[in-house]
Structures are given as structure tokens and as C-alpha cells.
Symmetry: C2
Amino acid sequence: MPELDAIDRKILASLQADGRTTMQELADKVGLSVSPCHRRVKLLESRGVITRYTALVDQKAIGLHVSVFISIKLVRQKEEDLNRFARAISKWDEVLECYLMTGNRDYLLRVVAADLAAYEAFLKNKLTRLDGIASIESSFALSQVKYSIALPV
Amino acid sequence: MPELDAIDRKILASLQADGRTTMQELADKVGLSVSPCHRRVKLLESRGVITRYTALVDQKAIGLHVSVFISIKLVRQKEEDLNRFARAISKWDEVLECYLMTGNRDYLLRVVAADLAAYEAFLKNKLTRLDGIASIESSFALSQVKYSIALPV
DNA sequence: GTCTGCATTGGCAGATTATCCCAATCCTTC
DNA sequence: GAAGGATTGGGATAATCTGCCAATGCAGAC
């Protein structure tokens, strides 16, 4: 796997800032002409450095007013238990992020919902129905101070 | 502010899944012709429902191997203190997410770094140098089980 | 049931952009 | 200094965007 040079990093930074810049603009920014710039972008895509392109949607504008962080502890932590939990989580659209954690909690989830009633429904009908969960602890976010997609390159 | 109808929601779902679908593909998916579909997308952009477009980059591919969640408590929670903290956080690229929380912790941050040394440098040179912080507690993520940008529409 | 007015749609055409080929250039290695 | 490989830049074609305009659908009034 070849390393990323300075131009590649500029390309990544620009595309993270605006995933729809034209090749001409992008080429100008990174100091190349269109052709090699285009080829580098395609290469970054095929190498999996750029995984995909997406539109960011305003959470409040579509009525999702509740953000919750959930700490979860499993009864057992064997690989099979972890995989079963991961598979279940992956199916649910309300779960935006899930991390396997060090320390005394196994998982940390970020979940969004329209309101508290919808969140309660998620807990009752989905999360608490999973087998093998020892404890669930919800922390509510009052506001989103920062939300960035752009990794520092 | 007009409500989002079923077609708008389909458009949002499609653009979240692929921010670079062509208008033709998008129009086919939502059951419109290109013109009205294009107009709806522009409207969603100007109304701020679609905030921007971005390329998603693989964290490991660019050498960011450490993900940390940091719980922070401030000495005081007056609005001015909160604002000062928010401004500082916003400048740092390592901080991808920051939430003002309920309960006994004021803030929850998600931070990425190349390795533990880089994370230590972030703590020493940036975070701990802020005034007004009462406590900092780091929890490390062993793996990212799920990471989604797509809000359920 | 029919008419009117409004909002939305679909088709079309010019302008913009992506994409690929090929020759020229640069850099490394011998 | 020469040879080889990788990368670049320009240009041509195909694909796509984007705005205009007439046509369509729909709701309310009579």
C-alpha cells in the first residue's frame, strides 16, 4: 500500500470539506492539472481511502431532536457474544455510532430519535429485547457543540 | 417552513447513501423526472436541510489508529464558560464531536489521533491548558463497530 | 360538474463537467 | 549521462448539470 503524499492529503482535505467540488477546482487547489488530479481521486477511491460520498442532513430539520449516548455492558464478552451484539446494532437506523470500549463498559452507542417517546420505543422494542445485556445507561445530549466528519489529514 | 413529503425523504435517504448520485439516477429512484428532482434538491439545500456534501475517509487508511471519548467537567457552568470552551474545542481538528451533556458530566468529546503519543500531545498541549476544567476522563475505543452518517428519514 | 388559480411536473437545449487517450515531462537508478 | 518507469498536461468526447417554458394535476369556489 503506497503512502499518501502531500497532494493526496490536500485532495482528501478538500473533498472532506466539499465532496462535490469539480475536478477543475480541486486541481487548482492542490496545484495539479485536471487529469492527474482526477486519476489520484479515482485511485484513492479504489484503494478504499475514500470510502464513499454523502450528503449531510440537518438533524433538527428532519425532526430528530433527541441525541443519546448509551453505555452497555454485556453479560459475557466472548467473541460470539460481541458479534451477535454487533449484528443486531448494525440493523437499527437509530444507532449512528457504536464503539467497543476499554474500561468497565463494553459498548458506547450514539442514538438519535424524534423525541423522548420515540427513544423510549427504541429502548423497549429493540435494545432491551436483546439477550445477553447486563446493563444499559443512557446519557442525553443537550446540544451538539461540534460535529465534524473531516478527519485531520 | 414547509414539511418534507415522502419524495423529499426518499431524496434525502438516497443522497445520504450516495452524495454523488446523478440527478437521473436520483430521479429514477424517487419516481420523478430530472427537472423537479433537481429543483427539490436545490430547495433542500437552500432550506438548510442538506447542509453540505462530503467525502468519507477511512480512519485507519490515513493512520489515525486511536479513538478516544473524553468526559469533561468544568469548574463553573455559566454561559460564558460554556461558550469559551466551545470556541476552543471548535478550533481543534482532533475533536470530531462534542456534546453538552445532562447528568454529572458537562461535555462528551470524540477525539482521534495517530497513536497514543499523539493523543498524549493533544492532552498536554491543548486540552489541559484550557482554563476552567475541573476534570478529564478518557475512555478508549477498541474498535468502531458502526459508524453511520445517515440519519433515519 | 365546471371553472379558475396555484403549485408541481416534464422535456428540451445550452453550458458545464467528467473521463479517457496519448504525448511530454520528471525522477530515479545504473 | 542514458534508460526505464511513473506521473503529468492537454485535448476530445461523452455524460451531466441547470434553467426555461409549456403542460399537467389538484384544490377550492360557484
